[in-house]
Symmetry: C2
Subunit: 205 residues, 2 copies
DNA sequence: CGCGAGAGTAGTCATTGACAACATTGTTGT
DNA sequence: ACAACAATGTTGTCAATGACTACTCTCGCG
């Protein structure tokens, strides 16, 4: 059935997904502050109260958005790392990871901001889990590096945290306009390189 | 004249400052989303339109808050660095800088979030300047380190950016609940140490 | 085949930011 | 002194919004 001129049936049938889509568009073009449930409903062509059937309140919609963001980010990170064929090439894999992150985070600036601010909200366990899954990948990378003696010993998560923090900070600065996007690649490069140098075991220095 | 039972004169005399004070309290306890101009006006006991004489709109109030935050942060950073008597002790100074930053940023979590999200708003030049002043200090530190040959050559600002980014990222993770505050000190410690190792000139490796 | 749950609608309310018109007070030039 | 006048507050109003309630439509299941 064509949906162009046809009257929409009483039941939309796909509202939840379409709400999320519209929400992400609005997020991208107008920012999170401007995102209004009634606006989305108007865009889609349903009544102002319809979204309530799918999201208890504005927060719930934003949380769902953040969760979906983390899932997609996780996937991007995974494929980026896996694309480095040489499984033992830690520098390359770390670099791929960092690059993929900053690309996603700068191409989806507003969404990333939302993701980073929602993941602490109590009750948003789904968001937290999605975030942990995305982040967990770097711990694995670090762990492998340690096993092969390329990185100093110590809590893999703690060490990974540093890398993650740096990348997070860089994108935050780009997204807030503090530094120009052109410098992104270079900064990520030096960040990863310096990290690898700084985290080498003592006997290799 | 006592101001306890006395009727407030028609002209408050200090509304702007008191608004900023109340705003910061509200920010701290309820977060930026809940901050409402009318609420502040009620708290202070003026009419709902009074704030408009001092801040064109909600954004302007938030920007002023962010600016004041950067000014205070800058001062904290400066004194922290200056408290290290040995002017040549780069590690100690860098550490003091990072420590002071994370302390401020975690003790003023919501304010920091606001600061980091406002500094890009076009037209908020005052905010941008305050931010640059606070951040510029680290460039100076790096430059000194380079002059004494303790750090590899290269754009001081670029190198400083990495440190700043890492510290920014760490606090962002703490403030969003991704990592526990107890780990803060340790993380900052390793971050600074690793940075210094990684940024040493080649011949010293 | 009817009926109940799921999904959408219309109506309402309190809150809010923004704005305009008006009131009060402090200041300044003469 | 004192009459403009600029600052600063006040009341009143409006449109938008999120949240809630009561009602309606449809479809699938027993």
């Amino acid at each position: 059935m064509s949906d162009t001129t046809e009257q929409r049936p009483y039941h939309h049938g796909n509202l939840r997904m379409e709400l999320l889509d519209a929400a992400e568009r609005s997020l991208r073009t107008h920012g999170v502050e401007q995102l209004s449930l009634r606006d989305l409903a108007r865009d889609i062509g349903v009544s102002h109260a319809a979204p309530r059937r799918h999201f208890a309140d504005r927060r719930a919609l934003l949380d769902a958005l953040a969760e979906s963001g983390f899932v997609r980010l996780g996937a991007k990170l995974r494929t980026a790392v896996d694309e480095i064929d040489d499984e033992d090439d830690l520098p390359a894999r770390l670099h791929a990871f960092a690059s993929a992150y900053v690309r996603f985070a700068t191409e989806n600036a507003a969404l990333t901001g939302l993701m980073n601010s929602s993941k602490h909200r109590p009750g948003a366990t789904a968001v937290a889990e999605a975030a942990a899954a995305a982040f967990g990948q770097i711990s694995d990378l670090i762990e492998e590096g340690q096993e092969r003696g390329e990185l100093e010993e110590g809590d893999p998560e703690g060490i990974g945290l540093i890398v993650y923090a740096t990348v997070l900070g860089i994108t935050s600065m780009v997204n807030s306009g503090m530094i120009e996007p052109e410098r992104l690649e270079g900064l990520v490069d030096t960040a990863v390189t310096q990290f690898l140098r700084g985290a080498r075991p003592a006997q290799q220095r």
